[in-house]
Symmetry: C2
Subunit: 182 residues, 2 copies
DNA sequence: GTCTATACCCGGATAGAC
DNA sequence: GTCTATCCGGGTATAGAC
């Protein structure tokens, strides 16, 4: 349970939370400085006392996703370990990844469909989010990248409604699971 | 080699081609009615004599991608068949998918990161683009969806520079190939 | 089929007063 | 830290003349 405030002031923290709610409820297109200020009951120019520009707010949101996704995957990892082999580790990680992404589709899209602000991200966060998958792949980079691509592809296509209506996606996930486990 | 004009006038066809060039050279953000008109040497309002709105231009571009992707995959399929088993069919399809997507990243993004205009797309086109993959999966819907998700995930992560700099992505593709072939 | 002119709305961001 | 006022730019789209 890492600290997600990153040394921001309480007010700045509140702005990020509000931005998140705005994003998740109304999508990327609704995330504007004016709309954000409206929700906070202030005027847009006031936001610039807390963040240098809009991008800084977005970076804070992206960091939030990485943080939470890392926690969700680490929790799935721990739950599997506790069960002493009664569950399959990759199954748990897939479920955690899918559940998190589909619960926050707009945040996932923001983090995934734009440039990744590697320099602005907290040190080591990106790697931390990737580690559970790398561990379950026994450290194989190539395998973990392929597995990650599958999970991201499933989630992205699902979020954008790309599969035929009524498609049994649980089965598709299990098919991928079997392919990468076997 | 299907007709991609869809009964559009030569002028409308020229507009689509210009829109495509604009998109591919400068990205989605540059695809505006003003910029498009500039390239054509006309004024933005004139575009509305040929297309009802901007979305119609985008739909034409998305149709173009489906058409070309279908052709690329069908060509890979045919090439494999001609080789009498000397090549692996899924390998060929993956290569064709990846090559096409990376050659047209902005068009791929436009077609993939927004709502899919199913009703406005030419009849049967979406299915046609999917069929080569379904055929190589021996008609298994679940497997073909999983394979598609992997390919889309790889391409999407690659386009957005999500993999670590210097990562050997050929190996990741081959790992996915092995998983789904084995 | 193209033009000019324009309406309308939205965005990010800054200056300077309080 | 918030405000008002404002700049500047951009977008989609329409009306009406030629």
């Amino acid at each position: 349970m890492a600290d997600q405030t990153n040394g921001r002031s309480p007010r700045a923290q509140q702005i990020v939370e509000t931005a998140r709610a705005l994003l998740e409820e109304e999508g990327v297109g609704a995330l504007t400085m004016r709309r954000l200020a409206d929700r906070l009951g202030i005027k847009a120019p006031s936001l610039y006392k807390h963040f240098p520009d809009k991008r800084a707010v977005e970076v804070a949101l992206i960091s939030l996703l990485f943080e939470e996704l890392a926690e969700a995957l680490e929790a799935a990892e721990a739950a599997e370990a506790d069960s002493s082999g009664a569950r399959d580790p990759l199954t748990e990680l897939f479920a955690a990844y899918r559940t998190y992404a589909l619960a926050h589709p707009h945040l996932y899209r923001l983090s995934t469909e734009g440039p990744l602000p590697r320099e602005a991200l907290p040190e080591g966060l990106e790697e931390r989010a990737a580690m559970p998958l790398v561990r379950v792949c026994d450290g194989s980079e190539h395998l973990s990248r392929a597995v990650w691509a599958f999970a991201h592809g499933m989630v992205a296509l699902e979020i954008h409604g790309r599969f035929p209506p009524g498609a049994d996606l649980d089965k598709a996930w299990r098919t991928g699971l079997a392919a990468f486990s076997g």
